[in-house]
């Protein structure tokens, strides 16, 4: 704008100012010369003296021009500012006269932009804000690949990479697991990251206190050591600066605190302590994919280049390993931010789309409101034009009004967002867990200002242009008579608005329907009134076999004590609590089938349970029997399989009595003999709704003791609260070092469906807001359209048309753009449905019930919005309308 104006001045202004200065100086010279001639000085001498009086003309005019230019710039600026100021004053006065319109418009903008502000703040934190690591763009995630599919990395491969990969300054392996930490207050289950010695070098962040692991600690069987996260150090150790050197026990292993990592590391997300990866020798297997790997690229090396070279290296190191479905044939290097974001980009894009639609609706609404207001003020505008206001003046007035309303709306939106920030971070914890704060930074402020300018100008410009044009058409002599109506523009606005609203409503409908489906789905077990109590026991690494026997005793004692608690109906033990993940699978064998003679394994989930497990969780035993106390060591080995196992591997025949085994699942090989199938149980959706039940083998805990985490599950009569409290007390008596993390199984279910639920709620809120906005907009705009037809309605009534016909015609006229909008919306929604298909559960993206419901909602809203204005128009006495028209 400024450039344009200076160009303009270049073309016209400068020459005028220059000419003026030249004229002024020349006049002085002429007059001086004439004066000298009058005094009788010789003409040549007079000319010289006169020129001399002003000195060097060129310098002088440059000097004077410079002064004039400054003056002119100031004047122009003052003039422009003055115009805007007077427009602002007028706009404010207008708003005070029309408080309802103003409140509606501001609220509307606030609703529309509020959600956008919230979502942008999340996107900003997730995508835009720099990662808190130095040279973060050189940090990458590395996976092994087989035929392009990514896998975690096998220990020996990681070590070979660390030795030989040239494109990395450092590579580090890590994984995150739960451990029990004791020796610092009450025992506690904490998230523990096991990470390579190179880990801080990859991230480029050193401990804030103490040090990372040294060569004596980061080695197999080395001195046990832990590094605390800043958060854990503050919460658990009160930020004690003397924490270094303190002893804690991690899963029973005495370890020394050697350092504290600053909070900004926060990786792996949620890690509370770190332990050295090198302590655990995970053997020579190149198919045991245990490690996630991050690396720091050498400066100037890109991920693609590193992918190529690392793939070559990987093929070299696995050559001669034979072939296996689990052996890598390449590697892939991707930017670290993608790892941090995980699945969130999809969800965030979805949110972005939803709030974008909401913003569109808000803008359209504001446009429509301003347009209707402009039409009402047409007389005033014509008068202004007659009084000499230019087109630009009129347009500026509208844009100023629109900008002012938008600014107020955005301010209200930000004001509403501020106190909700903390809640917002908690709500998105599952989607983008590494986002801990929503900063008010430069990009955020830019976004906010951008919102004001874009919305304000977009919403203001259409009414402004329309008003300017209509003023040209409407002659000053006959103000407000037969002026081109804004109906066409308004109808388009309504159509687009209805379409956008329909898309949001349909989307919300699809998601809520799929959520209902999800919640209604039979999971194969009962969750209500069931509590889960993990029983983490430390491992005595020095005496595995002895420890295994001890564990069996401790667990059985725990089970008995829990069973004795009043209110507990039954208790069982299991390695595989539904909805808690972590159910390992492996290649099973069935005697008499190819899987027992070197053929492909009967891949099945491996679960170990105590007698009564199926009864506790309400899993039906369809054939045979449950495990009993007699299924103990020394007795006939037994197993139970689920329906999916029978369907998949033993269709047709009688599974009972068949012999199965699941090798390779135990650290101490105790139970790998053939076991007879004694029962068949119902399928369980172990990972919650939407997860297909996998073929599963159950083994009795009495015959197959486990180092895996065993949990007690209990069926409770009545309130579970007192039971959990009693259980905590009982277990503390049994083992004061065992942390208590008892929960309700129903809560775990809630957690599993939390993300789809959140999605549904968010979109539901947006859709409701959209409907509200559309309702407000339709009310204003349809009312306005009907109002403009009042005269026509009056005439038709006066000519004797039946009221119902007239009302019907008016309805039809008002609803036509709504119907067109619905059609467009349905088409768009079908397209969008394909995009959100991944979020849908047993609902097709074009679900007719959802579409019909959404359409009905929009139509009803529109119809209700029409009723008032149409009734008012019908109630007007036709004679009055006609007379009023004549009087004009």
């Amino acid at each position: 704008m400024g450039t344009l104006r200076s160009l303009f001045r270049l073309a016209t202004g400068r020459s005028r100012v220059e000419a003026d200065v030249a004229d002024e100086l020349e006049l002085h010279r002429t007059l001086a010369e004439e004066e000298l001639l009058r005094q009788g000085v010789a003409p040549e001498e007079a000319a010289r003296l006169a020129a001399d009086e002003l000195g060097d003309r060129a310098t002088l005019s440059r000097q004077v021009l410079a002064i004039d230019r400054v003056r002119e710039r100031r004047m122009r600026r003052a003039e422009v500012i003055g115009k805007w100021q007077s427009d602002l004053r007028l706009a404010r006065r207008g708003f005070r006269r029309d408080p309802w319109f103003t409140a509606a418009a501001v609220l509307l903008v606030a609703l529309g932009v509020g959600a956008n502000i919230a979502v942008f703040s999340i996107l900003n934190a997730a995508f835009v804000r720099a990662l808190p690591y130095p040279d973060a763009d050189r940090i990458v995630t590395v996976v092994e690949t087989r035929q392009g599919r990514g896998m975690s990395v096998a220990g020996p491969n990681l070590r070979d990479w660390q030795r030989s990969a040239n494109d990395f300054t450092h590579l580090a392996g890590y994984y995150i697991t739960n451990t029990v930490l004791t020796g610092a207050g009450a025992p506690e289950t904490i998230a523990t990251a096991v990470a390579s010695r190179t880990f801080p070098a990859v991230l480029g962040i050193d401990p804030m206190l103490g040090r990372w692991f040294d060569a004596e600690e980061a080695v197999a069987g080395g001195a046990p050591a832990v590094v605390l996260s800043e958060g854990y150090w503050r919460d658990r150790f009160g930020a004690d600066p003397d924490v270094l050197g303190r002893q804690v026990r991690v899963d029973g292993l005495a370890a020394t605190v050697v350092g504290v990592m600053p909070r900004r590391v926060d990786f792996p997300v949620g890690a509370q302590i770190w332990m050295p990866a090198e302590r655990w020798d995970d053997g020579p297997s190149r198919t045991a994919h245990n490690w996630r790997v991050i690396g720091r690229l050498r400066a100037g090396v890109g991920p693609e280049e590193a992918t190529r070279s690392l793939s070559v290296l990987t093929r070299q190191i696995v050559a001669g390993e034979g072939d296996s479905d689990f052996l890598a044939d390449g590697a892939r290097v991707t930017p670290f931010r993608q790892t941090l974001l995980g699945q969130s980009p999809r969800v965030l894009r979805f949110l972005q789309g939803a709030v974008g639609l909401l913003l569109l609706i808000a803008v359209l609404n504001l446009t429509a409101l301003l347009l209707a207001r402009a039409a009402k003020r047409q007389g005033e505008l014509v008068m202004l034009r007659t009084l000499g206001a230019t087109r630009v003046d009129l347009i500026r007035r509208f844009v100023v009004e629109s900008l002012l309303l938008t600014a107020a709306g955005v301010a209200l939106g930000v004001a509403a967002w501020l106190p909700l920030r903390a809640a917002l971070v908690r709500a998105i914890d599952r989607i983008v867990p590494f986002v801990r704060t929503l900063p008010i930074d430069l990009p955020f402020l830019a976004f906010i200002s951008g919102l004001v300018v874009v919305v304000g100008i977009v919403a203001g410009v259409v009414p402004a242009l329309w008003a300017a044009r209509s003023v040209e058409h409407g002659s000053a002599a006959r103000p407000s008579h037969r002026i081109v109506g804004p109906s066409r523009v308004l109808q388009t606005l309504i159509g687009v608005e209805v379409a956008a609203t329909f898309v949001l409503l349909a989307g919300a409908g699809l998601l809520s329907r799929s959520l209902t489906r999800m919640l209604d789905q039979d999971l194969g077990f009962r969750s209500e009134g069931r509590v889960v109590i993990p029983l983490p026991l430390p491992v005595d690494a020095g005496n595995l076999a002895g420890d295994l026997a001890r564990r069996g005793l401790v667990l059985e004692t725990a089970r008995e004590r829990l069973a004795a608690i009043p209110g507990v109906a039954s208790v069982a033990l299991t390695t595989a609590v539904p909805l808690q993940g972590g159910s390992p699978n492996g290649g099973g064998m069935i005697q008499g089938e190819p899987s027992s003679t070197g053929g492909p394994g009967a891949t099945a989930d491996f679960r170990v349970v105590s007698p009564g497990f199926f009864e506790v969780l309400g899993i039906p035993v369809s054939r045979g029997r449950d495990f009993t106390a007699h299924d103990r060591a020394g007795a006939q080995r037994v197993a139970i399989v689920n329906d999916a196992f029978v369907r998949t591997y033993l269709p047709g025949g009688d599974p009972l009595g068949r012999l199965v085994r699941m090798p390779g699942m135990d650290i101490v090989p105790t139970g790998e003999d053939w076991a007879a199938i004694v029962g068949v149980v119902g399928d369980v959706r172990q990972d919650g709704p939407g997860a297909e039940p996998a073929p599963t083998m159950y083994f009795p805990l009495g015959q197959r003791p486990q180092f895996r985490l065993v949990s007690a599950v209990a069926r409770v009569d009545g309130s579970p609260g007192p039971v959990l409290r009693a259980a905590q007390a009982e277990l503390a008596r049994l083992d004061p070092e065992m942390p208590f993390d008892g929960i309700l199984l129903a809560h775990a279910l809630n957690d599993v469906v939390a993300v789809p639920k959140l999605r549904t709620i968010v979109l539901g809120v947006f859709a409701s807001a959209a409907l509200l906005l559309a309702g407000v907009g339709l009310f204003g705009v349809v009312g306005f359209i009907v109002l403009r037809r009042t005269r026509e309605i009056g005439v038709r009534l006066a000519l004797g048309a039946p009221r119902t016909n007239v009302a019907g015609a008016a309805f039809g006229h008002a609803l036509r753009p709504v119907l067109l909008g619905l059609l467009a919306g349905a088409a768009v929604a079908l397209g969008v449905g394909q995009v959100v298909r991944g979020f849908l559960f047993e609902v097709s993206p074009g679900n007719p019930v959802v579409f019909a419901g959404a359409a009905a909602l929009v139509l009803t809203t529109a119809a209700v919005a029409c009723i008032g204005p149409i009734r008012r128009a019908l109630a007007v006495d036709p004679a009055t309308v006609l007379r009023a028209d004549d009087a004009r």
Binding site: D23, E24, H28, A32, Q63, V70
Partner: protein, 111 residues
């Protein structure tokens, strides 16, 4: 121009303001008014007048208008604004005090 003195810094502004007290003048008229009124005792330095006029216009002490002279020439006429008149009052008072003080000093020196 024998016997004329150079103008002190800031004096020119005062003289211009004073010159315009009797109504609008263009630049040449201002310069001649100053010369004639002081019996040619004060003259304006080469090229100082017009920058001063334009600067005072920029400060808002003067406003200018193009008009036709009695000899049918296009000229830029300067006129005092309210701000200019106020400025003149202030400077007038200052100058009177200054002249009185200098007069006393001169009188003291003679006796």
């Amino acid at each position: 121009m024998a016997g004329s003195v150079d103008l002190l810094q800031g004096t020119l502004d005062f003289l211009i303001l004073k010159a315009l007290t009797w109504g609008p003048k263009h630049g040449f008229e201002v310069s001649r008014w100053i010369r004639d009124t002081t019996d040619q005792a004060l003259t304006i330095e080469q090229g100082a007048l017009y920058p001063a006029l334009h600067r005072m216009e920029q400060r808002g002490w003067l406003e200018a208008e193009w008009a036709i002279t009695e000899h049918r020439r296009r000229a830029k006429y300067y006129r005092l604004t309210r701000l200019g008149r106020k400025q003149l009052q202030t400077q007038d008072a200052d100058w009177r005090r200054y002249v009185a003080a200098v007069g006393k000093i001169l009188a003291a020196a003679r006796s």
